[in-house]
């Protein structure tokens, strides 16, 4: 597989070191700053290229037309978005991943066809939510090119769903309860599955339904 990484900052550098361990892949690291590019090259080697990853003519030169994956991880959201759109729509790169620095840009990136987004703020928030008992919906993964994501929700004391069968619950549209993890382990639920306090539910839901689903399955938040 041919992988192009745009951005040789802390994230790009770490990624390069990981990808070096996977000898089956061909990797190019693109860095805009000349001095940063040469210091990276002396450490990582010839895979580091100096140039503007959002420029079509430059990407052509590094063979973007045959890339299987492009990952844009600069500190500039504009560059990351444009680079992924150029990869996708000019070079037909199959899969694009962008780092989102401003969490308010997440929805726009997904809507404009970036396949996956990586958000430091989002990842840290997920960790925080996992440790706070009242935030009981944890985003696990964004699904490619859609508003849907996979979440983990814990059924808490006071949840309107506890003790009721799934078929009796009126979820918002497009909510799919995929796995229920209870005392007996993980199960694919049916309409007859009854949720118990302490169960963990893995579901595919539209982002805009987060609050509604949290209220239904997790129950009331503390102090709310």
């Amino acid at each position: 597989m041919y992988i192009i990484v745009v951005g040789g900052g802390a994230v790009g550098h770490g990624l390069a070191l990981e990808l070096q361990q996977m000898p089956d892949h061909e990797v190019a690291i693109v860095e805009l700053s000349g001095s940063r590019a040469s210091s990276l090259r002396s450490e990582i080697g010839e895979m580091v290229v100096h140039g503007d990853g959002s420029e079509i003519a430059f990407l052509e030169g590094v063979g973007a037309g045959r890339a299987d994956l492009l990952i844009a991880v600069t500190a500039d959201d504009g560059a990351n978005l444009v680079t992924c759109q150029v990869a996708k729509h000019w070079f037909n790169v199959k899969r694009t991943i962008a780092r989102v620095n401003d969490p308010r840009n997440e929805a726009l990136f997904l809507r404009l066809g970036v396949d996956s987004i990586v958000s430091a703020a989002g990842a840290v928030m997920a960790q925080i939510e996992a440790t706070l008992p009242e935030h009981t919906i944890i985003p696990l993964m964004a699904l490619e090119g859609s508003r849907l994501h996979v979440v983990d929700i814990r059924v808490q004391e006071g949840s309107p769903a506890a003790g009721r069968a799934l078929r009796d619950l009126e979820f918002p549209p497009e909510v799919l309860v995929s796995v229920v993890i209870g005392k007996q382990g993980a199960n694919v639920p049916s309409g007859d599955t009854v949720l118990q306090v302490g169960d963990e539910v893995i579901a595919v839901i539209p982002r805009e339904s987060d609050a509604a689903v949290r209220k239904m399955i997790a129950g009331p938040t503390e102090g709310a």
């Binding site: 959201d77 504009g78 978005l81 444009v82 726009l108």
Partner: protein, 134 residues
């Protein structure tokens, strides 16, 4: 018309002044307050310091009520990000984007933005000037 201009360089400032002269309601954004010195004394619109890619600034600038958004900042990528935001998130009817790189201008016009490339225009003008003079 309510018009929001991102970037108060020579083009942004000139356009802003012309548009207020024509009676439009104009707001100009720039990340650097010093850029507003380029506005002529007869400019009577609103100046706002901040980035046109920042949702908070865009909302403060009234993007939800604006009829037209024009991105004239120095970076192509910033202009493209802000323009797509104006169009896709805030539903602005008319969005115009300056993209210096002619290939990027072509791609994003194919993707639905109204782009123009000053590079391409400059090449054409310079080329034509040579042969008109001959």
């Amino acid at each position: 018309m309510r018009i929001l201009i991102m970037g108060c360089g020579r083009v942004g400032a000139g356009l802003a002044t012309q548009l207020t002269d024509e009676g439009h309601e104009v707001t100009v954004l720039d990340t650097d307050a010093f850029a507003f010195r380029r506005l002529l004394p007869n400019f009577h619109g609103t100046r706002l310091v901040g980035s046109g890619t920042d949702d908070r600034i865009l909302q403060e600038a009234g993007i939800e009520q604006t009829d037209c958004f024009i991105a004239l900042a120095s970076g192509d990528n910033r202009n493209i990000l802000a323009s797509q935001k104006a169009k896709e998130i805030y539903g602005v009817k008319t969005v115009v984007t300056r993209v210096k790189d002619p290939l990027r201008a072509e791609l994003f016009s194919r993707l639905g933005l109204h782009t123009f490339s000053p590079t391409k225009v400059g090449v054409t003008l310079a080329h034509d000037a040579i042969f008109q003079g001959a």
